[in-house]
Amino acid sequence: MNVIETKNLTYTYGAGTPFSKTAVENVNIAIKKGEFIGLIGHTGSGKSTLIQQLNGLLRPTSGTVLLNGKDIWEKKKEIRKVRFQVGMVFQYPEYQLFEDTVIKDIGFGPRNMGLSQEEVRQRVMQAVDFVGLDHGLLEKSPFDLSGGEKRRAAIAGVIAMDPDVLVLDEPTAGLDPQGRDHLLSQIKAYHRQRQNTVILVSHSMEDIARVSDRVLVMNESRVFLFDETAKVFSHAKELEQIGLRVPQVTKIMMKLHERGYPVDPAVFTLEQAVKEILPLVQGGAEND
């Protein structure tokens, strides 16, 4: 069952003026329930415009977005419901915090959904645990938190709406390497537990490779590739032509393969690479 599907999706900024610019052109994608999708592309490739159409923040110039098989713009008045089903975490989401306590801020989305106080509380606590926020921080002002904590609180604010699809735009931007890894594995864990759909937008091939089932590559407003992660990275040459890099590990493995070593070139995490290379180094004596 496709949770999200787009048909001939096109979005033009300033349509009808001499400054019109098509940011998304004729995009047809189908995303199944429970998939983890990585979305990658250059600045200006149309990623942000695409994802903002998925939850109805932008209305397509032409084409349709189907959520669970229904056109999201069928009833214009119910577009808010779509936004609860497709949760969107923007880039640098910490700048959206505004309430006087963290717990109230995380509850903003659920309260807008019209849930009872008890339900709101439950969802907030669940979301807090998902992002690994310390319970001692909940009664503090969000402006007193550290950068990383603010980021977590903001992400929790979207997770608390319990969306069917969670879209994250560069959630790890500006975090230190440790914070990055930690946040990514928590998002992955969230995906595993809830069994819902996650779309992760990132510039980092390494991040995308680590967590995604399928990767969508955008280039110049169009879908360039949309396939399983391993298959996408096997197109290393084409990716480089549009200015994207495959993960460094994959590059090394490809070079090794080129030189005739019996390794699988479609490897994109360090762990996998170790498994492939170690037997070679040890002369095949041991198989770790």
């Binding site: 923040l57 949760g87 969107m88 700048y95 959206q96 915090l97 505004f98 903003f108 807008n112 709406m161």
Partner: protein, 272 residues
Amino acid sequence: MIKDVTLGQYFPGKSIIHKLDPRVKVLLTLVNIIFIFIAGNFSALGLMTAFTLTAMLLSGVPFTRYIRSIRGVLFIVLFTSVLNLFYGGGTVLAKWGAVQITTGGIRNAVFIAVRIVVLILMSSILTYTTSPTQLTDALERLMKPLKIFRIKVHEIAMMMTIALRFVPTLLEETDKIMSAQKARGADLESGGLISRVKALVPVLIPLFVSSFRRAYDLAMAMECRCYNGGKGRTKMKILHITAKDIVTVLVAAAVCAGVVLLNLFVAENFLI
């Protein structure tokens, strides 16, 4: 979308109007606006209109731009001229009870409409051909005499520069925050006045917080570059009055004199 608001209207170019000293431009615009109001009949106003149109042509800014600047105040133009339609003497053309339209009324309406449109065009020439930096620079120079009254001219000019610089940034930021809150189900588009104002709180608070943050950052950056006010500060671009400026001032003076003469000698004065 909020981004469509055209603020910083500067239209870069290399026309003679662009190259005039900004001080001259600011002063002439002020004087011309006064003379647009002094012009008391169609001949005098016609002269001001011709002068403005010439300046528009010389500026090299496309006319569609100027038309867009009028479009914003179209309602005011229509409102005032329709209001004027019902005042004035002359032959009665139509009458409904106490309300009547006369030839004088129509003349008034047209006169007022032309006056406002020329006024807008005149100030548009200034904003289209002068960059915000030049503009504040010129204002700083022109306000220099106010220093006698202990008015901090440099500080005022710096504040204006910074404010202008941050308008687009803040607009963009507002847009982002609005999207983010809408994504969490904030309802910014429906409901009555009170609920709409309340709905703005989640947008305004983050906006204020980030404005303060930007202010601190900017202050720090300025201090790091040893900024300590206007005292002893030199300019990279020093404004010079050139022959172009003198000629322009002379032409403008001639036009203004013409307006006064036409006011005096053409006997169709009907408005102050």
